[in-house]
């Protein structure tokens, strides 16, 4: 425990010391130890030291380390280039872009990994050499008909290859859209920086610079994420991933069958039967209870209609006077004449 704390302190001293030296020379030099790796090392030691407490911290610290580790060092490096120097919004935006690269959204989203989400990516990475071979040499053969005793197995493998190619294409299209969004974010960032050039509105800290970037990036992302183009790209990404998973699962089930193991399909089939039986039983119980609870018809009650009313009042000719509605504490009765016909059985 103490060792972890000591490691952090030593690495942090080294990191911040290097920063102090670098700042005295105005900007940190490459390989000075003040770069991102130095901060990552210090933060890694910090995470190890801090997680010596309760286990529930691990996820939080994991997120913290993954995300904070890079951002703070990058922010520092960019800001340091302009400390005490004349500069413009474009200079800062360009430096920021150089630090983050052409598609920071892709990097951010790739960092969004966690338990249960690695499977497909790990499998894809492991299968990458074979899949690249498929793309280069055999793409056109994946659609060819299969013959003979093992044709079903061959078709499943072909399906897997096709699914992988679809997934790669979908991922490329999605990343391309994110790259466009990234450029939009940089442009917005520069515009926001330009608004801060006048005295009194300048950014006084690395954190403020990062927060401004986040504002720009979120605005650009929101515009993209609400677009039809994103809807299609995201939908294709999810659908392609599911097809790939399904193709892999089908092959895995075959392998399990060979070993006499119960498959997911078999278990699902059993669960489906149980759920449906339970549902039917409960429907019968509800009907029986409703019949028992049904009071004798009263002369004054309205007759029940043969069918229920239309789907919603939006579909009815007499719309409500919405201006009659109110905020808290002031409910307003709707005009009785506007009310649609209601089935009598609804009120008790």
């Amino acid at each position: 425990m103490a060792q972890g704390s000591d490691d952090f302190e030593a690495l942090a001293r080294q990191y911040w010391g290097a920063w102090g030296d670098a700042l005295r020379g105005v900007t940190p030099q490459a390989g000075s130890g003040a770069g991102m790796q130095g901060f990552r090392d210090a933060l890694g030691a910090w995470t190890n030291a801090a997680s010596g407490g309760q286990g529930g911290f691990d996820n939080v610290l994991g997120h913290f380390n993954r995300q904070n580790g890079d951002w703070f060092a990058r922010m520092q490096q960019v800001a340091a280039q302009f400390a005490g120097r004349e500069h413009g919004a474009q200079d800062v935006a360009k430096a920021w872009q150089r630090a983050l690269g052409g598609n920071p959204f892709q990097g951010l989203l790739q960092g969004m990994r966690g338990p249960g989400l690695e499977g497909l990516e790990q499998w894809s990475e492991a299968a990458a050499p074979w899949l690249q071979n498929v793309r280069n040499e055999a793409a056109s053969t994946l659609g060819m008909p299969a013959f003979g005793f093992a044709r079903e197995h061959q078709e499943r493998l072909q399906g897997l290859g096709q699914a992988q190619l679809r997934w790669q294409d979908a991922l490329s299209a999605y990343n391309a859209l994110m790259a466009t969004t990234s450029q939009d974010a940089y442009a917005r960032f520069e515009a926001k920086l330009a608004e801060r050039e006048e005295p009194g509105r300048q950014l006084g800290s690395v954190r403020a610079l990062f927060d401004l970037w986040v504002d720009a990036a979120e605005e650009a992302y929101a515009d993209t994420a609400l677009s039809t183009e994103y809807r299609k790209a995201y939908g294709e990404l999810v659908n392609a991933q599911m097809q790939l998973r399904a193709s892999g699962q089908a092959i895995a089930e075959q392998a399990a069958n060979l070993l006499g193991m119960p498959s997911r399909t078999e278990l699902d089939s059993a669960h489906r039967k149980i759920a449906e039986l339970e549902r039917q039983l409960r429907r019968m119980q509800r009907r029986a209870e409703a019949d028992e609870a049904m009071p004798a018809p009263k002369p004054a009650s309205k007759p029940a209609p043969a069918k229920q009313t239309p789907a919603s009042k939006a579909a009815k000719p007499a719309a409500k006077n919405t201006s009659a509605r109110s905020r808290v504490g002031k409910p307003v009765k709707k005009a009785a004449a506007r009310k649609p016909a209601k089935p009598a059985a609804r009120k008790r």
Partner: protein, 358 residues
């Protein structure tokens, strides 16, 4: 010194900021090591009814309830019951109990693969219906109050439309009704997804996938800025405890039963059936025009998950004559846990119910 551009940063201020971060990180080691297991879900409760993994709890406050009609809370399947009872100073439940309400909550549990074929009918008619029938019997009432939150609000609307005589007053919180408003990001993403392929492939929908989707609504704020900002509170044990409770709140999510997910996404996210008509729960069609009991609809003005217009659509679709709105200045999560929420939301609900107690 003179300013030269958008950054008014000097070598000294940069070094000072860096030193401040280092001090925070150093202090954080001590803070985190000294912290006890963070508790959540603070109010005493007792199990009163159970069906499968679904459990109905009754909360016990420091005083006996004065309200004659109990309130049943139904929240989204992706959440846990303590979302409305996170800690002593952030608890909708506590606020309602202090005002004399008699509060119950459905715990949906954690579905496993054997629950894959649970449908919306199971969740709405079997579980909510079973809980409400239990309460009606236990309290000797024809109808009880129902408080639905987010997806639980959609469930509550469906239940109320199908069983209007069993719901005395309906409260919906951050509940989507019109799923196709232009600012609904989640809905936009759902439209082109092959939900059948998704559910057939995955079975239940993993909680991590759900949470990743929610994070992607605001990826820079929720996955980067939030943790960069965490440095500020590393030397504050109390603030870190609150932070960790919120992490638990957000990421402790059950997997989603596959068939219910299929039905919900298809009927609501893709087909917007409350508005277009034809929503079906089991064999029965849902008509919001049949929701005639009093409705209090609470929405959040900065809700990034359920845009206000998505909730406000209820005012034109519901059949009630007695419709009230509370527009809350906050977001989808702040409406449960912010300081403003503790002051406004329970009091509004209590006052509104009190006027409709008879």
């Amino acid at each position: 010194m003179d300013a030269f551009g958008p950054l008014n940063i000097t070598a000294e201020s940069l070094a000072e900021e860096a030193n401040k971060v280092q001090r925070k990180l150093e202090a954080g080691i001590g803070t985190l090591r000294a912290m006890d297991e963070v508790d959540f879900g603070v109010t005493a409760r007792e199990e009163v009814w159970r069906d499968g993994k679904t459990v109905l709890y009754r909360f016990r406050g420091e005083r006996e309830p004065t309200a004659e009609v109990p309130v049943l809370v139904s929240y989204a399947l992706v959440n846990r019951p303590y979302m409305v009872d996170l800690q002593a100073d952030r608890s909708l439940v506590k606020g309602l109990l202090e005002r004399g309400e008699d509060v119950y909550i459905i715990d949906w549990g954690y579905p496993d693969r054997s629950d894959r074929f649970l449908t919306l009918e199971d969740y709405i008619e079997r579980y909510i219906g079973g809980a409400i029938d239990h309460l009606r019997k236990a309290h000797g009432l024809d109808a009880v109050n129902l408080l639905g939150i987010c997806q639980g609000g959609v469930f509550s609307l469906c239940y109320a439309a199908l069983n209007p005589h069993k719901v005395k007053n309906l409260i919906t919180m951050v509940t989507p009704v019109d799923f196709h408003t232009a600012d609904n990001m989640l809905s936009n993403w759902n439209r082109e997804i092959d939900v059948d392929l998704l559910v057939d492939t995955l079975g239940n929908i993993p909680a991590d996938m759900m949470n990743l989707t929610y994070l992607m609504l605001k990826p820079w704020r929720l996955f980067a800025q939030k943790y960069v900002g965490m440095v500020d509170i590393l030397d504050d044990k109390r603030a870190m405890e609150d932070f960790l409770r919120m992490e638990k709140w957000i990421f402790d999510s059950p997997d989603q039963a596959g068939e219910a997910f299929r039905e919900f996404n298809t009927q609501f996210f893709q087909q917007n059936r409350f508005v277009t008509g034809g929503a079906k729960i089991g064999e029965r069609e849902v008509h919001l025009g049949l929701v005639e009991m009093p409705i209090l609809n609470i929405y959040a003005e900065q809700d990034h998950l359920v845009p206000p217009d998505a909730s406000r659509a209820l005012r034109d679709l519901a059949g009630t004559d007695d419709y009230t709105e509370l527009s809350f200045k906050g977001g989808h999560i702040g409406i449960y846990v912010s300081g403003r929420a503790q002051k406004e939301v329970p009091q509004t609900i209590h006052d509104w119910l009190a006027k409709r107690a008879r």
